[in-house]
């Protein structure tokens, strides 16, 4: 086996093992999620709007307070 083929075999084996490991970790819930989610989790949700439970406002509507 020439040196080029030797290194290729090593790299392809390592890449396949990495993919298998990542797949397993993702499905078992231990791996990190999609990289595209950077900085777009809780902060995004709160910045896009917030919701008040309607029962908290019931009295305001009926009584006209504030």
């Amino acid at each position: 086996m020439d040196w080029q083929l030797f290194f290729v075999t090593l790299i392809v084996t390592f890449a396949s093992a990495t993919l298998l490991r990542r797949t397993w970790r993702t499905w078992s819930g231990r791996g990190s999620a999609c990289g595209g989610c950077a900085g777009s989790s809780k902060r995004t949700a709160s910045a896009q709007g917030t919701f008040i439970p309607v029962e908290q406002l019931t009295l305001r509507r009926r009584g006209g307070a504030s």
Binding site: T26, A38, S40, S41, K42, T44, A45, A47
Partner: protein, 762 residues
């Protein structure tokens, strides 16, 4: 020697958009860090404040309207305040941040904090905003009537903070009895009865919540330990209804009644509420027609900018990638390792990295729109559509988050209490176009909708791709809500934050995070997939029979014969012959030029034939030809089909896979540099030249094929992370399988219809 006493802990509590985080930053300065709690995605910031030589630990709790634990955010806040969060001590004081311009509703949360039994200090923030609306709050009088210290502050300008720190230190040191909102006597009787039944281990505050929050977190968590509890709670609630104080209405009535009493005489209001800038802007931006037009215009500007602003950087990255590949080819002899580096790693990963500037521009726009308060208005506009589809406005937040990435979008659906609504939202959120689809759209739009098309076509087509998800997601939700997930939808009231100038720090932070995440992804999963795809396309390496090639030296006219025994030698010899003939053609004029060009083309065809035969015999080629009959109706050849399948781990992998399969490195670099349309990438150029294996004169890609591929990617669920998070959130394999099946079916039908219809016109 005694260990040093732990610093006192102060928890910051407040409604969203009250300046809580601004106040936290002002108090803690640089002494802060971000923390997460196991099992939930709720982030809390921790920091330290120094007052009179003493250090105090600060915890910035998630913004919430109520301490009624309905969602993980509220549960974390309640657990922290009660000292039930593992590893966290019970706070020594609560700093309740109140928006002075919206005093009564903000005090609702404060009245709940008072019941926890920890000293409370009220920070009356945004007094300047209140004054601009003609509101004056007498903080001293409010403090007397409320029974806790009230300190007026302007957190964004640092005003009143010294006094606030001093009052906080005093509150921690002193223990005083707290006044709480009085509830009707039958309610208190039921609380005492339930508390005795459950046992002393549960905090009295949680017993009140148990009775008040129908179907809430407390009820679910306590029911796990006390099996007869649900019946007891149901009976207690029925007795309360009979006594005229049914839950949950009794809480709002008791709290607002008390708030009216304690604020009486403390707030001076104008007779007519002045119209603010936010009101004026909202008249346009939340208008049914005007607001929608502004929304569409803004989206067009965003998508058009993605193409125009990113050009110079994309060009630079593309040139850098080509230069690196040329350098590697010059340094190493031909062989599998050289091919892996140049055709696999550099072409594959490089083709994806070229789109980094566009991703950054998209995230910068999202950050600006969020930070200035516009996204809440966009959510408001879409809320009308959502409610018609049987979902509450809460569902739009996860869907809008999914424009960046479906994973946090699906996790954001946790705030939806109703199980059917939450499930419907989770199942349709992946239909929203995420940032991983951007390189696919960008590549194909850049390559096929440029020459002969108006300048705005690219932006409009990109918007169209995003609009597909925006339109189909609510329709799919409607279908689900009318079939599998039938049920009523609770009503929510949405609060609009005030408009403000976006913070540069926040925008740069967001862009930096997304750049890092994209590069990390390119350097890990995309790199690994590219290596595997390259190997599947390169092997098995069956060496052809030895051949004798007749080669011509265009400079001297000398003809020589070369015996080639290996495939690599065959390809290298033909490649060099094409280069030499092309160089000669460029250096000559007239008939001679034509002759050399013809020779170069013939040799190139010979090279393509050798390469094509090798790819067809490879593992990927054999798999591809097996699935080709299924993708032919979409206008795809086996290479596109295999690239689409290979992108299952992550959508943007298709760009790199197409780069490897169509062998970008073989495209003439001069031709690429000369391309007038800089938005077109080298890969785009290669795709335009790609031809069918069984008909070399027929191009594979055309506008209908590009549209079909884009529509397929707009609708398919080629993202392992998304399916994994659906499984986690639904705790079932059924729903991710359902999502994958329905989205793949939708994508196939969508791509088929688009291809077959568009080829009639284009």
């Amino acid at each position: 020697m005694d260990p040093a006493p732990r610093p006192s802990v102060i928890a910051l509590l407040g409604n969203p958009n009250t300046g809580k985080t601004t106040l936290f930053n002002a108090l803690a300065g640089m002494r802060q860090r971000v923390g997460n709690y196991p099992g939930v995605t709720v982030e809390t910031k921790k920091g330290q404040m120094v007052q009179a030589g003493r250090t105090y630990d600060l915890i910035d709790l998630p913004g919430t309207y109520s301490l009624a634990p309905r969602s993980p955010d509220e549960m974390v806040a309640v657990d922290l305040i009660l000292g039930q969060q593992p590893g966290e001590p019970r706070p020594d004081a609560v700093l309740s941040i109140v928006d002075a311009s919206n005093l009564e509703r903000n005090l609702y949360l404060t009245t709940q904090a008072l019941e926890v039994g920890v000293p409370v200090v009220v920070a009356l923030n945004m007094v300047d905003v209140a004054e601009s609306q003609g509101l004056r709050v007498d903080a001293e009088r409010l403090s007397k009537q409320l029974g806790v210290p009230v300190v007026p502050i302007q957190a964004n300008k640092g005003k009143g903070l010294d006094r606030l720190k001093q009052v906080l230190a005093e509150a921690v040191a002193a223990s005083h009895s707290l006044t709480t909102a009085p509830f009707p006597e039958p309610f208190e009787r039921e609380v005492t009865h339930l508390h005795a039944h459950i046992g002393g281990g549960v905090a009295p505050f949680l017993v009140r919540r148990l009775l008040l929050d129908v179907g809430g977190y407390t009820e679910k968590s306590l029911a796990a330990f006390h099996h007869d509890l649900p019946d007891d709670v149901r009976s207690a609630r029925q007795r309360l209804i009979d006594a005229g104080c049914g839950v949950p209405a009794v809480e709002a009535r008791a709290r607002y009644g008390w708030i009216r009493q304690v604020t009486a005489g403390c707030v001076e209001r104008p007779k007519v509420r002045p119209v603010t800038w936010t009101d004026r802007i909202d008249r346009v931006l939340t208008h049914r027609v005007g607001g929608t037009l502004v929304f569409l215009a803004l989206m067009f500007v965003v998508f058009q900018s993605i193409f125009t602003l990113a050009r110079p950087l994309m060009k630079l990255l593309g040139a850098g990638k080509d230069l690196l590949a040329e350098g590697v080819r010059g340094l190493l002899p031909p062989g599998p390792f050289t091919s892996l580096l140049t055709d696999g790693v550099l072409e594959g990963v490089g083709s994806v990295i070229v789109f980094l500037p566009q991703i950054l521009i998209l995230f910068a726009f999202i950050a600006i729109l969020e930070d200035c308060g516009y996204m809440a208005r966009a959510a408001f506009l879409m809320d009308r559509l959502m409610s018609r589809c049987g979902l509450s406005g809460k569902s739009f937040i996860p869907m809008l988050s999914s424009v960046a990435c479906a994973v946090p979008g699906i996790m954001a659906a946790r705030v939806i209490e109703n199980r059917r609504d939450r499930l419907a939202t989770i199942l349709v959120s992946p239909l929203m176009s995420c940032s991983a689809r951007l390189p696919v759209y960008s590549l194909l739009i850049g390559a096929f909708l440029t020459d002969g098309y108006a300048w705005w076509v690219k932006g409009v087509t990109m918007f169209g791709m995003y609009a597909i998800g925006l339109v189909l997601a609510p329709l799919m939700a409607l279908l689900l809500k009318r079939t599998l997930l039938r049920g009523e939808t609770p009503v929510f009231v949405m609060e609009m934050p005030l408009y403000k100038w976006p913070s540069l720090r926040s925008i740069f932070g967001r862009v930096r995070e997304s750049a890092w995440a994209f590069l990390r992804r390119a350097g890990t999963i995309i790199l690994a997939v590219m290596v595997v795809v390259w190997a599947l396309l390169y092997f098995p390496r069956t060496e052809p029979e030895a051949q004798t090639l007749t080669l011509l030296d265009p400079e001297t006219g000398a003809v020589r014969e070369l015996r080639v025994e290996k495939f690599d030698d065959h390809v290298t010899a033909l490649d060099e012959q094409v280069d030499a003939l092309t160089r000669k053609a460029k250096a000559t004029e007239g008939d001679e030029k034509e002759r050399w060009e013809k020779l170069a083309e013939e040799t190139k065809a010979q090279l393509d034939e050798v390469n094509g035969e090798w790819k067809r015999q490879s593992v990927l080629g054999r798999m591809g030809r097996a699935i080709e009959p299924a993708v032919r109706p979409l206008g795809w050849d086996w290479k596109i089909g295999m690239a689409a399948i290979a992108s299952f781990p992550a959508r943007e992998v298709i760009v790199g896979t197409l780069g490897i399969i169509y062998n970008v490195g073989k495209v003439d670099a001069d031709e690429i540099r000369a391309a007038e349309n800089i938005g077109e990438t080298p890969l785009g150029k290669a795709l335009r030249k790609a031809s069918w294996d069984d008909d070399p004169k027929r191009r594979v890609f055309s506008v209908p094929v590009a549209l079909s591929l884009m529509v397929f990617f707009a609708l398919c669920c080629q993202c392992a992370s998304t399916l994994a998070v659906i499984r986690r959130e639904t705790n079932s394999w059924r729903w991710p399988a359902f999502t994958f099946a329905y989205m793949t079916g939708l994508a196939y039908v969508g791509a088929l219809v688009v291809y077959q219809v568009s080829r009639l016109f284009v």
